[in-house]
């Protein structure tokens, strides 16, 4: 067991190392001289040279990398060119919003997809299966940003049920307020979260439905399910404790693999809903060629997702006794 964890942690560190190399190289792949970009137009050649010295651009690449890495580990990416504040701090300030959205979308998609997938598998070949497959197909074909806009059109501008943009005070604050006995803030926060979450969740719900259906179908035809049935126990118990208990384990892996994609999808969703998250931040940084901010965002998102992967691994091990214990002959 310990062996397993040590390997995972080492792997995680290796991943972060590779990640850092990629992120670092981006600065140097880009056209244009970073020094020139920071300085105002009128800068002279000398100023540029001076700036390069300050930025450490005159040193060999490897040395630059090591210096950068040393600071990155402490989450010091320098100051954002736009905001003149610590890039890392800017990123962290916006991170909760994105996490909220990612979480909301994941929960929605899982809550929706798994029951549908199970039903589609159990009622395989019937109209239910057909309809669910259809819904799934639609979910896979719909552009996220367009769906968001349509949702705004219908439910915001049309019916007025939900606000059309913004996040308000945010979910975490809302929960904090809950303890003070204030439900209204939480309610508002959730209201803001609904449409963006649906827009982001739809695509992934479709993916999860397909996987759930496939996994359940595979398990349900296995021999031990017949064993369970012929013990005379109820069909609900057979499905719940035997089929699902096995079928849902691989789903955890699928969800884990998609967490990164959900976060990535948040980028576009945030723009549609003017959601003050990391995605918006990144896009603005890209247009402004704000390299410290870009690096900070990429590195920290990558690191975050790597950590999530490890968490998912742990959950997987907890669920599947075959990994926890070694087999017999």
């Amino acid at each position: 067991m310990i062996h397993f964890f040590v390997r995972r942690i080492l792997y995680c560190l290796l991943t972060l190392l590779f990640l850092s190399i990629i992120v670092f190289s981006l600065l140097h792949l880009a056209p244009g001289d970073p020094a020139r970009m920071i300085l105002p137009q009128e800068a002279t050649e000398e100023d540029v040279l001076q700036m390069r010295k300050v930025l450490g651009l005159d040193k060999p690449l490897f040395v630059q990398y090591v210096n950068w890495l040393g600071k990155a580990v402490k989450l010091d990416f320098g100051d954002s060119i736009q905001g003149k504040r610590s890039a890392a701090k800017l990123f962290l300030a916006r991170l909760p919003a994105t996490l909220e959205l990612t979480l909301g979308a994941l929960i929605l998609s899982v809550l929706f997809a798994i029951p549908l997938g199970i039903i589609a598998a159990i009622k395989r070949g019937t109209y239910w299966d057909f309809i669910i497959s259809f819904i799934s197909l639609f979910g896979l074909s719909t552009p996220r940003f367009w769906l968001g806009i349509i949702l705004i059109l219908i439910f915001s501008l049309g019916l007025g049920w939900f606000p059309s943009f913004g996040r308000g005070v945010g979910l975490f604050d809302g929960i904090a307020q809950l303890f003070k006995g204030d439900l209204a803030t939480l309610y508002e926060a959730l209201r803001n979260l609904v449409l963006p979450s649906i827009a982001l969740a739809t695509f992934f719900a479709a993916i999860f439905v397909k996987h759930t259906r496939a996994n359940v179908l595979e398990e349900i035809s296995k021999l031990y399910v017949k064993t369970a049935r012929q013990k005379g126990i109820g069909e609900y118990r057979v499905i719940l404790f035997h089929v699902l208990r096995n079928a849902l384990i691989p789903i955890v892996t699928v969800i884990a693999l998609n967490v990164g994609l959900v976060m990535g999808g948040a980028v576009v969703t945030e723009i549609v809903f003017a959601w003050p998250g990391v995605g918006q931040l990144l896009i603005n940084a890209l247009f402004a060629r704000d390299y410290p901010l870009i690096q900070a965002s990429l590195f920290m998102v990558g690191g975050l997702i790597t950590v999530i992967f490890i968490l998912m691994d742990i959950i997987y091990v907890a669920l599947d006794p075959r990994i926890r214990t070694k087999g017999a002959g």
Binding site: P143, R144, W146, G265, I283, L298, V301
Partner: protein, 282 residues
């Protein structure tokens, strides 16, 4: 091939998918020739005209006009070229890179294999969208940026699957037996291995093409990649007018939707039809 055609005739959705894809490919190829108006022709007197079924709409502009008086239908028709081109080119770049790397990895193994697989795993940690976004930003505001960016982020699936397939096939008894039988046997190997790999490539391709079209539209939406005559861009441009002129964002988006739907329908059917091993049940 004939068997395939016969199967197609039996499947409603397969035919529907193919029809949709066909229409879009046709539009992509013919684009400007069949478009009723010049998609870039501005006419400020006829701004924001609604589609023909709404009040104030005319048959001259069946799907309305945008904020600069340009005909929406024409823009959708001509925008097809951009989407299809980006979609197909990206897919093929991903395919070539992935298949070649996967094959080398599978056959040669060694340190190349190890490094490649580590690299692929690490790529998982960075959301593909983010990477693509950054790549596009770096490469500059040209359509080729989106194509390259998507190609460079999507090849890993090909590589992984091809590699594992080759690893499995290498150990198959018939391959080892063929080796002992000499040169003529090499043809046998190709006859067996090749179709197998082709099938996998087709599977992955059909799975990815829809995604790629969706994502490239998303990148245009954000404004990267500098294609101003594209569906994604139009959806973005129409956002501001959402309350007044809903059709500006809705209609190009519908085009994306149907295009991807067609690809997915046809892709699903193709995968099922070609599948060598499914025990199908009535």
């Amino acid at each position: 091939m004939l068997r395939l055609y016969k199967k197609l005739r039996k499947s409603f959705f397969g035919k529907l998918g193919l029809a949709i894809v066909f229409v879009f490919v046709l539009l992509a190829l013919l684009g400007p020739s069949v478009s009723p108006h010049d998609p870039n022709a501005m006419n400020l007197t006829k701004r924001l005209a609604p589609p023909v079924w709404a009040k104030g709409g005319t048959w001259n502009h069946p799907l309305g006009t945008d904020m600069l008086g340009r005909d929406v239908l024409s823009r959708v028709v001509c925008g097809t070229r951009n989407s299809m081109m980006v979609g197909l080119l990206s897919s093929f770049i991903a395919l070539f890179i992935g298949v070649i790397l996967g094959m080398i990895s599978g056959y040669l193994g060694g340190w190349f294999d190890v490094i490649l697989m580590r690299w692929v795993d690490i790529m998982l940690a960075i959301p593909a969208v983010m990477l693509a976004v950054v790549l596009v930003a770096i490469l500059g505001p040209y359509p080729i940026s989106i194509i390259l960016a998507m190609g460079l982020t999507m090849w890993s699936e090909y590589a992984k699957v091809i590699r594992s397939r080759i690893l499995v096939l290498r150990e198959e008894p018939f391959v080892l037996a063929a080796k002992t039988m000499g040169a003529a046997a090499r043809k046998i190997i190709l006859k067996h291995i090749f179709p197998n790999i082709i099938y996998i490539i087709i599977v992955i391709f059909t799975l990815q093409i829809g995604l790629i079209i969706l994502w490239s539209a998303g990148l245009s939406f954000i404004g990267l990649g500098g294609a101003t005559l594209s569906w994604g861009w139009d959806v973005a441009a129409g956002r501001v007018y959402l309350a007044r002129a809903w059709w500006l964002s809705t209609i190009p988006g519908l085009a994306i939707f149907f295009c991807v739907l067609g690809c997915n329908l046809f892709g699903d059917w193709l995968r099922d039809a070609l599948d060598p091993g499914i025990k199908k049940v009535v």
